[in-house]
Amino acid sequence: MSRLLASHSNNLDPAGGWPAGPTGLDEAQTARVGLRVLLAVISSLFMLFLIAFILRSQVPDWRPLTEPMAPLAQPWALWLNTALLICASISLQWARVAARRGQAKATITAFSLGGGLAIAFLAGQLWVWQQFVAWGYFVASNPANSFFYLLTGLHGLHLLGGLVAWAITLGKLLRGAPLAQLSSKVELCAIYWHYLLGLWLLLFALLTSTPQTYEAIAAFCGLR
C-alpha cells in the first residue's frame, strides 16, 4: 500500500500535465481487480468461520468426525471429490491457455469439461451428505457435524455461484461469440476455480484433522 501511494504521490508534480499511468488497463483488468476484491471478501468470510470452528472445537461436547466409527475415519469419498475438483481446475487452466492462444475448439472442450467436473464434485459432496444422514450424523447432533455441513455447504454454494458465470460464458461460447471477447471471462472462471480448489483443500485438511491438531492450532492462536 505504501509503495502504491508513494508511486502515485510522485505524480503530484507542480508542472501539470498527467502521468502516463500504468498501461494496459482495460475492462479485463478491471474485472480481474473486481474478482480479486471479491476473493478477499470470501477469504475474510471463511477465515472467520474457521476461527469459530477452532474455538468451538475446544468445548468438551465436540465429537470428532475422524473417530474410528465416524464417517470421516476413512474419507475416501472426499478424496475422490477432491480429485474431481483438481481435474476441474486443470481443465479450466487448459481452457484459459487455449483461449489465450485463440484455439476455439479446445477452449470449448476444456471449458465444458471444467464445469462438468465441478458439477460432479457437487454431486459427490451431496452424496457424502447423504452418507452422513444415513449414518445418523445429522446437522444438529454434534457441533462437528454442524460445521461439516455448514462449511461444505457454503463452499458448494460459492462453486454454484461460479457455475452460473460458467454457464453464461459457455452459452456465449457455444453460440459462437468471438473468442477474443470471452477469453477474459474464461480466465476469470479459471482464477475463481483455482481459488475454490485452494479453499477446499484447506477445508478438507481441517475437517479431517484430529482433535489434537485443533488443540494445537487453538493454543497457537491463543484461544485456549
Binding site: M1, L4, L5, H8, S9, N11, L12, P14, A15, G16, G17, W18, P19, G21, P22, T23, G24, L25, D26, E27, Q29, T30, V33, G34, V37, L38, A40, V41, S44, L45, L48, F49, A52, L55, R56, V59, P60, D61, W62, V139, A140, P143, S146, L150, L154
Partner: protein, 590 residues
C-alpha cells in the same frame, strides 16, 4: 490512463424507457438517489420509534401499547435501522454511488449491472426487515447486538419469527453491501480519469473508499454470526447456544459459546463505527475546505489518518466486551489499541480546525452542519477516551453515559454530516438550491436540540441511571430530579423529531421549486462541480473526459482573482489567470 481513453471511445448505452431510466437504472446517480430515498424512509421509521421510546421514558404509561416487549422491539429496530439501514446505506450506497464517479471523472461505476443489483438487494433487505413488524410475535426485541442465547430463546420478544427475519434481512443487506463495495473499490482503483492520481482524490472519496474496504472485510463477520445463529434457531445446532433451562424445561442445546457470538459481532461492529465515520470524515473535510475558502490542512496526513484508522479499527473490537468477563490482559491490550486510535482521529480534528484558522469562513447551511459535526464529534470522542479504559467502562457500561457517548459520536455526528452533505450536493443532484432560511432553522433546532437531548444523559449516567430499562419509576436510587430530566429530554426529542419535517419539506419543495443553482454555486474546485450539465446527464461528461491537473483544494490561490482553481485548470491556464489578475490590479504585487 487507459481507462479514460477506453471510456471516450466506447459508445454510451442510453437508457430509453422510463423504466430503465428511473427504476431498473444502471446509472450510478439514479441508484444513489434510490439508495438515499430508501434510507431516509427507513430512517424516518427509526425516528418515530425513538419518539415512542422517549414518550415511554419521559411519561411512563402514556402510550397504551407500550409494554416492556414493545419497548425492546422499538429499541432494537431503532438501533439496527439507524446504524445499518440508514447510515451505512446512505453513506456508501447514497453518497458513495453519487460522488465516486463524479469526483474521479468516470462515466459510471465499473460494474453498473452489479451496482443496480446492489440497490435491489438492499431494498429487499429493507422489506424483509419491515415485514417483521407484521409477523406473529412482532420484530425481535433482543437489542441491536442480538446477543444469544436470549435473542433466540422463547420469552424474548420476537424470538419466534422476528429474529429469523432480522437475520435473513441482515444477510441480504450484506450481499447488497458487498456488491456495492466491490464497485466502489474497483472504481476507485481502476476508473480514474486522466491525471487523477490517488493523492489528488478528494478526501470524500478517500473516506468512502476506505470505508468500503472495511465494509467488505468486516461485514462477513456479521454474515458468519447471522448464518450460525439461523442454524441454531432453525436447525437446532449449538454454535452459540449453551446448555440452558428455559421456563423449567432444558433445551436441546449444549456447549455453544455466546462469547463467540460477541467476538464475531463486534469484529464486525467496531469497524462498522468507522464504516459510518470515515465517509463522514471525508465529506466534512470537503465541506470545511470549500466553505472556509482554504485548502485542507495536511492533506496527506489526512489520507494517512484515514488509512490508519481503518487498519486500527480491526483490532479494537473487544472494548465493547469489557463486561463479558474476559482475561484482564486482553482488556489491557484492547484498551491500549482503543486509545491509540484516538491519535489519528485527533489529528484529523486538529487539521479541520487548522483549515478553519484564518479562513474566509462562509456560514452557509452545509458549513454550519460541518462545524457542528466537529464540536459534536469532539464531545463524543472525548467520552470515548473514558469508556475505552476498562476500569472506567465497567461501572459506566450499563448506564446512560454509554447511550450519550454513542449517540453523540456515531448517531448525531454522522447525521449532521448527512444533512450538511445533502445541503451541499443537492444543487448538483437537482440543479436547484435548497431554501437557506428553512435550512438554517432546521440546523439550529437540530444542533441545539440534540445537545439538549444527549448532553444531560451523561449526568444521568453518572447518577447511575441504567440503560435498557423500559420504565424508571419506583427505583429508590433514581431521584425525582432524574425523572424530571427524562421528561425534559423527551420533550426536546419529540420537538427535534417533528422539526425534521422542515428538512423533508425543504428537500421536496426545493427539488421542484428551488432557486436554480447553476453548475457550481459554492465555487468549489473538485471535479463534480465542473460537469458540462447540471444535473449531470448519463455518462457524466461530454465526448471527452475531464483532465485533472491539480488536487481538489486550490482555494484562495495568491495572485488569482477567482478564489478557487478547479481541478481541470492546467498550469498554463493558471498562469494566464494570474497575469489577467495582475493586469487589472497593477498595484498588487503578483
Amino acid at each position: 490512463m487507459a481507462y479514460a481513453e477506453h471510456a471516450e471511445t466506447e459508445a454510451l448505452h442510453e437508457p430509453r424507457s422510463f423504466l430503465t431510466k428511473y427504476i431498473w437504472s444502471q446509472d450510478h446517480k439514479v441508484i444513489a438517489i434510490q439508495y438515499a430515498l430508501t434510507a431516509l424512509f427507513v430512517g424516518l421509521i427509526a425516528l418515530v420509534l425513538s419518539g415512542l421510546m422517549r414518550l415511554q421514558i419521559g411519561f411512563p404509561g402514556s402510550i397504551a401499547f407500550m409494554d416492556a416487549s414493545a419497548y425492546y422491539q422499538a429499541m432494537t429496530m431503532h438501533g439496527m435501522i439507524m446504524v445499518i439501514y440508514l447510515l451505512t446505506a446512505l453513506f456508501l450506497g447514497g453518497f458513495g454511488n453519487y460522488l465516486i464517479p463524479l469526483m474521479l471523472g468516470s462515466r459510471d461505476m465499473v460494474f453498473p449491472y452489479v451496482n443496480m443489483l446492489s440497490y435491489w438487494f438492499y431494498l429487499l433487505s429493507v422489506l424483509i426487515l419491515l415485514a417483521s413488524f407484521f409477523v406473529t410475535g412482532g420484530p425481535t426485541g433482543a437489542g441491536w447486538t442480538l446477543y444469544p442465547p436470549q435473542s433466540i430463546t422463547q420469552g424474548s420478544p420476537g424470538a419466534q419469527w422476528g429474529i429469523v427475519l432480522m437475520l435473513v434481512s441482515l444477510a441480504t443487506f450484506i450481499v447488497a453491501a458487498t456488491m456495492g463495495g466491490l464497485n466502489y473499490v474497483t472504481t476507485v482503483l481502476q476508473a480514474r480519469t486522466y491525471g487523477m492520481t490517488l493523492l489528488r482524490m478528494p478526501l470524500s472519496v478517500w473516506g468512502i473508499f476506505m470505508a468500503s474496504i472495511l465494509a467488505l472485510l468486516a461485514f462477513p463477520a456479521l454474515f458468519v454470526s447471522a448464518v450460525m445463529m439461523l442454524f441454531d434457531t432453525l436447525l437446532g445446532t449449538s454454535f452459540f447456544m449453551p446448555a440452558i433451562i428455559s421456563m423449567g424445561q432444558p433445551l436441546d442445546h449444549q456447549g455453544g459459546s455466546p462469547i463467540l457470538f460477541q467476538h464475531l459481532f463486534w469484529f464486525f461492529g467496531h469497524p462498522e463505527v468507522y464504516i459510518v465515520a470515515l465517509p463522514a470524515f471525508g465529506l466534512v473535510s470537503d465541506l470545511i475546505s470549500v466553505h472556509a475558502r482554504k485548502n485542507i490542512f495536511g492533506y496527506r496526513m489526512m489520507v494517512w489518518a484515514i488509512i490508519a484508522i481503518g487498519v486500527l479499527s480491526f483490532v479494537v473490537w473487544a472494548h465493547h466486551m469489557y463486561v463479558s468477563g474476559m482475561n484482564p490482559y486482553f482488556g489491557f491490550f484492547f484498551a491500549t489499541t482503543t486509545l491509540v486510535i484516538a491519535v489519528p482521529t485527533a489529528l484529523k480534528v486538529y487539521n479541520w480546525v487548522l483549515t478553519l484558522w484564518q479562513g474566509d469562513i462562509h456560514l452557509t447551511v452545509p458549513m454550519l452542519f460541518a462545524l457542528a459535526f466537529i464540536v459534536t464529534f469532539l464531545v463524543g470522542g472525548l467520552t470515548g477516551l473514558f469508556l475505552g479504559n476498562v476500569i472506567v467502562d465497567i461501572p459506566l457500561s450499563d448506564t446512560y453515559f454509554v447511550v450519550a457517548h454513542f449517540h453523540m459520536v456515531m448517531g448525531v455526528a454522522p447525521v449532521l454530516v448527512v444533512f450538511g452533505a445533502i445541503y451541499q450536493w443537492f444543487p448538483k443532484i437537482t440543479g436547484r438550491m435548497m431554501n437557506d432560511r428553512l435550512g438554517k432553522l432546521h440546523f439550529w433546532i437540530t444542533f441545539l436540540g440534540t445537545y439538549a437531548i444527549f448532553f444531560p444523559m451523561h449526568y444521568l449516567g453518572f447518577l447511575g441511571m441504567p440503560r435498557r430499562y423500559y420504565a424508571y419509576e419506583n427505583y429508590e436510587f433514581i431521584p425525582q430530579s432524574a425523572q424530571e430530566l427524562n421528561a425534559f429530554i423527551s420533550v426536546v426529542a419529540l420537538t427535534v423529531g417533528v422539526s425534521q419535517l422542515l428538512f423533508l419539506i425543504n428537500l421536496f419543495w426545493s427539488a421542484f421549486k428551488g432557486r436554480p443553482a447553476g453548475g457550481n454555486p459554492w465555487g468549489a474546485a473538485s471535479l463534480e462541480w465542473q460537469t458540462p450539465n447540471t444535473p449531470p446527464v448519463h455518462g457524466n461528461w461530454g465526448a471527452k473526459l475531464p483532465v485533472v491537473h491539480r488536487w481538489a483544494y486550490d482555494y484562495s490561490v495568491p495572485g488569482v482573482a477567482q478564489d478557487f482553481v478547479p481541478q481541470t485548470v492546467s498550469d498554463a491556464e493558471l498562469e494566464q489567470m494570474k497575469q489577467g489578475h495582475a493586469a487589472s490590479n497593477p498595484t498588487e504585487p503578483s
